[in-house]
């Protein structure tokens, strides 16, 4: 009895699929690679835009994992498979290098962060931050966890420099990262909070006060190549791209300063 015609392709199907998979495995564009990069939460929007431009320019794919700098560092120190680390401070990349998680000498500053006192309410924050001197006027003040998020530490420093820390301390609520801090403020659950300029640079809503640079130590954000990515071409290419003019133009738009570059 002869086989019905339909059964032939069906029997061949696994072979076809296997052949296609094998071809796919050996055929990808000769130099297109993939890399996984740990990125501090404040840099989320800029990183996504830079990543898209990077892929267009080089053909490499970059995937980001976002979190607070301290949390990402804890993951890196326990073997997380990140190829590079874009921190929100200079201390963690330095520590990564000192503790042998990073490639020595690969560290460089990529951005300078600024903090903003921000409220979704257009009338709450004045230009000068005087609202902080009247804590009874607002219920809660959101900051990022100062232990894990450098932007939270900068916020505490600014509050101290303004001499209002003791008054506002009972009002503080902490976001797990600067991303959650902005979420608290945007939803109105916290009337105001200290967020990263980059998070609110793209729009004009609400009210804001760009905290003067003399009230806190500059937030120098360093990047470093991790041991896991030492032999990854795509990781090297991404860090090169980050230091190039295209990335700089994107960062400018998000309000990152670039001194020391």
């Amino acid at each position: 009895m002869s086989c019905p015609p339909a059964s032939v392709p069906r029997r061949l199907l696994p072979v076809v699929v296997a052949a296609a998979l094998a071809a796919g495995a050996v055929m990808p564009r000769a130099h297109a690679g993939e890399t996984l990069v740990a990125v501090a939460a404040n840099f989320t929007a800029a990183a996504q835009e830079i990543g898209a431009a990077f892929t267009e320019a080089t053909g490499h794919t970059v995937t980001f994992s976002f979190g607070s700098t301290g949390k990402l560092y804890a993951q890196i120190s326990h073997g997380a498979p990140f190829d590079a680390f874009l921190a929100a401070d200079a201390a963690r990349p330095e520590k990564a290098e000192a503790e042998g998680h990073a490639v020595p000498g690969s560290r460089f500053p990529y951005a300078l962060g600024r903090i903003v006192l921000y409220s979704a309410d257009p009338a709450l924050v004045d230009d000068g931050g005087a609202v902080l001197e009247a804590p009874e006027a607002f219920g809660r003040l959101a900051i990022a966890n100062p232990v894990t998020a450098p932007y939270g530490a900068a916020a505490l420093e600014a509050l101290e420099a303004l001499d209002v820390l003791d008054q506002v301390r009972p009002k503080l609520v902490q976001g797990d990262s600067i991303a959650q801090t902005l979420q608290f403020v945007t939803t109105g659950n916290a009337p105001l909070g200290f967020v990263a300029l980059s998070q609110v640079a793209g729009h004009e809503d609400g009210s804001r006060w760009l905290v003067p640079q003399n009230l806190y130590a500059p937030i120098r954000q360093d990047a470093v190549l991790l041991k896991h990515g030492a032999d990854n071409d795509a990781a090297h290419a991404f860090l090169d791209y980050l230091q190039g003019p295209d990335a700089a133009a994107i960062m400018d738009r998000y309000g990152y300063g670039q001194s020391e570059r």
Binding site: A74, S77, G139, L172, V173, G175, D176, F184, G188, N189
Partner: protein, 226 residues
């Protein structure tokens, strides 16, 4: 242990105790109705009450955050009545935990009520007990194992709650920084010693609670077969 760690332990115990009492108050009538009603919407309500059991805590945290927000009518109503909103407050954690732990209390109590069957209550009625009397003198004593299980599970689940608290708590020491959040913070900041102390404490506590529940059931002859 540091003062900060004791704060977290005390706060968590207080929260779980308050939530457990509220759970018994809220869950008992719901469980009774679910066990005795012949209403067609009974299973719909049953499924609604069970939802927190299967939903990721982030779903509940997200909805609570939106619902309690000062921008929402509910959030404005709460703020108007109580003078403050719920997010970032101890009271907010109590409300969230009661919702989140509700199925853990309702289910065992409902099962216990259902296991009683109609007969004992019918007998009580022939002895001229009012339904209210029969409930307190017949149903509740017979359902003791369900109440114990519901209370213990509700308490333990509140102690172990993390996702919802992370989303609506704001990590305020002495107010919303419960044990699970404190452990998370210690791990994230590489303070292993503190993390170990609290984590081991939780492990021991959870084991003792479950073991004690079984032993009490046995001791009092509440288990099956007697």
């Amino acid at each position: 242990m540091s003062g900060e760690m004791w704060d977290a332990v005390w706060l968590t115990a207080t929260l779980a105790a308050i939530v457990t009492v509220l759970l018994l108050v809220v869950a008992t009538p719901i469980a009774w109705w679910l066990a005795r009603s012949r209403s067609p919407v009974k299973e719909v309500v049953g499924a609604l009450v069970t939802l927190p059991l299967v939903l990721p805590p982030t779903v509940l945290g997200f909805y609570l955050l939106v619902a309690f927000s000062p921008n929402s009518p509910l959030g404005q109503g709460i703020a108007a009545v109580f003078g403050q909103g719920l997010p970032f407050t101890f009271e907010g954690l109590v409300v969230a935990s009661v919702i989140h732990s509700l199925p853990f209390a309702v289910q065992p109590i409902r099962n216990a009520f259902e296991a009683i069957g109609d007969r004992p209550l019918e007998v009580a009625a022939t002895l001229r007990a009012s339904p209210w009397d029969a409930f307190w003198t017949v149903a509740v004593p017979l359902a003791r194992p369900g109440f114990l299980a519901g209370a213990v599970l509700g308490f333990a689940h509140t102690v172990g709650e993390f996702g919802v608290v992370l989303m609506i708590g704001g990590n305020i020491p002495g107010e919303t920084k419960v044990l699970s959040i404190a452990i998370y913070d210690y791990v994230e900041t590489l303070q292993w010693t503190q993390a170990h102390i609290l984590a081991a404490g939780m492990l021991g506590f959870s084991f003792v609670v479950l073991l004690a529940m079984r032993l009490i059931e046995k001791r009092l002859g509440w288990g099956t077969g007697r």
